[in-house]
């Protein structure tokens, strides 16, 4: 089965609103969680990541919330802009001596309408 799952394939938000993207995972051993952003015909790039020893991390308009007991993490984007329109991929993995074998979700296509 899918170890990392994004249940919403798409999301539409009004400009200025809050975008909330969700991700669920199965493996208790995962200790690293990340969100990647992908524009069409482009490569994924890391947006923000968090380790399992914290339950929240903020970076500008982005906040990652981690709920370990619920095996769930989410990305909140405040003051959403049209340029935030992209596919967002969540990823989780277990740090193995410096590298993590990341498992990705299916992606959520975010559309910010003006």
């Amino acid at each position: 089965g899918q170890q990392v799952k994004q249940s919403s394939p798409s999301l539409t938000v009004q400009e200025g609103g809050i975008s909330i993207l969700n991700c669920d995972y199965e493996n208790d051993m995962f200790d690293y969680f990340a969100w990647y952003k992908k524009y069409p015909d482009n490569s994924p790039t890391l947006l923000i990541s968090v380790r399992s020893n914290v339950d929240k991390r903020e970076d500008g308009r982005l906040t990652v919330f981690l709920n370990k007991s619920g095996k769930h993490f989410s990305l909140h984007i405040t003051a959403s802009q049209p340029e935030d329109t992209a596919v967002y991929l969540c990823a989780a993995g277990e740090n193995q001596g410096g590298s993590a074998k990341l498992i990705f979700g299916e992606g959520t296509k975010l559309t910010v309408s003006s």
């Binding site: 394939p9 690293y32 990647y36 482009n42 490569s43 990541s49 590298s99 990341l102």
Partner: protein, 112 residues
């Protein structure tokens, strides 16, 4: 300028032909990856390489093999390509003691 370079960008092959996808990185990263991306499935890990000649299967290795003879190059080989291997293939690398993946621009492979 940190870069992961994939060649070719687009490739069309016939079923049964051999396929070679090349990836290079200029960051001296030890760890490199091959993923494929299909609609509704996200990125699926095919192979991971921890250094030269130190390769490990990912989640979907069947039908693929890899070669890492130099740290900066990681190749994905399809011996006798199948139509269900039509996909977008991404190579990535990561620095030591960090989980950040740097992706190449992808290769869109079509197997007819």
């Amino acid at each position: 300028d940190m870069k992961v370079t994939q060649m070719p960008r687009y490739l069309i092959k016939r079923m049964g032909e051999n396929v070679l996808l090349e990836c290079g990185q200029d960051m001296s990263h030890e760890t490199m990856y091959w993923y494929r991306q299909d609609p509704g499935l996200g990125l699926q890990l095919i192979y991971i390489s921890y250094d030269v000649d130190s390769n490990s299967e990912g989640d979907i290795p069947k039908g693929y093999r890899v070669s890492r003879k130099k740290r900066e190059h990681f190749s994905l080989i399809l011996d006798s390509a199948k139509t269900n291997q039509t996909s977008v293939y991404f190579c990535a690398s990561s620095p030591p003691d960090a989980e950040t993946l740097y992706f190449g621009s992808g290769t869109r492979l079509t197997v007819l």
